[in-house]
Symmetry: C2
Subunit: 216 residues, 2 copies
Amino acid sequence: MAKQERAIRTRRAILEAAGAVFDEHGYASTTISMVLERADVTKGALYFHFPSKESLAQAVVESQVSFGAVPPHACKLQEVIDMTFVVGQQLLGNALLRGSVRLAVDQETPAGVDHGEPFRQWADRLTELLELAQERGELLPTVRPRDTVELLVGCFTGVQLMARALTDRADLADRLAVMWAHILPSIAVPGLLPGLDARADRGARVLAAEEERAAS
Amino acid sequence: MAKQERAIRTRRAILEAAGAVFDEHGYASTTISMVLERADVTKGALYFHFPSKESLAQAVVESQVSFGAVPPHACKLQEVIDMTFVVGQQLLGNALLRGSVRLAVDQETPAGVDHGEPFRQWADRLTELLELAQERGELLPTVRPRDTVELLVGCFTGVQLMARALTDRADLADRLAVMWAHILPSIAVPGLLPGLDARADRGARVLAAEEERAAS
């Protein structure tokens, strides 16, 4: 059991090191030795978990879905909003997530690593929430959840990319607030609008509350 | 004069070849010889115009602003809409534009090539138009043109990226129509909405009309 736990920890350490190296150098310039050095594990341990650089990249890309967890909220549309702000906040502090996003976005990442998969996974997660929001009468009757969700995922991707290019993501949360200010009036029933919280510091507040809850 | 014209043509041929090669292979894997072969020019001609791979990449990135020209329209918001659909359409058929977008988006492109510049240039062009739209009373009084424009540029970038990853951009125009359906109600005065044309085939129609006009 202790052995299994150690294996899980080693795998995690390798994944986090790989995420950081891919984030800084991209797929082509990353070498297994750079990951080894960063993770401080043996070559044997790395190859046991990941037989190739491509399998390592695939695992980093797949790690994206472990991010963006938010506490349940009575209003499902608020949960959708929260996910975007939480992921935005996590991008600032988590190199594994940044590496994962870079690999998915960079065209140089080899075709064996599925570029479309993260887009589909985010869209699936959000569609489930938005369909729930629709059932509960939170959305205008004209909204088609899948269309709205795919726009949100694409828009988020580009907005974080632009924030990275212009301000090293320092203004990402502000840009997300602008995104929601433009999209919410087209999807939410008007009575809901004043109560929805899509201010720039939403992600930081949600994460702080979660940490407090976990600590108590 | 003929000599100068020939130089301009040669430069253009090199640029288009470089755009296509960067689009297919990205910055790191592109070599000067690949561009030479594609452009069918001499090494001397290429180095005369572009002393390095980096200067070639910079010129390809800068070429972005030559795209997205649209005919003037009485409604300036319609011109903004038209620019997005025309660029979307041009992305399908023009390898120089695709290469330029890839270089700007890929993090592997060296820092000497300014990643932020294309974002700023598009934002400047669109802000000018949207401020004109505001002066003419086309926009809701709450709209801050620069915020809206930066959202549009970021959103367009991510939407085209997602379309590339999922359908090799085949559904890009549909995704742009969804984008506008979500954003227009938040920025245009209500009376304008029924008359604005943001249907998926808008880009193809604008370009066809332009070609017809040029041919007559």
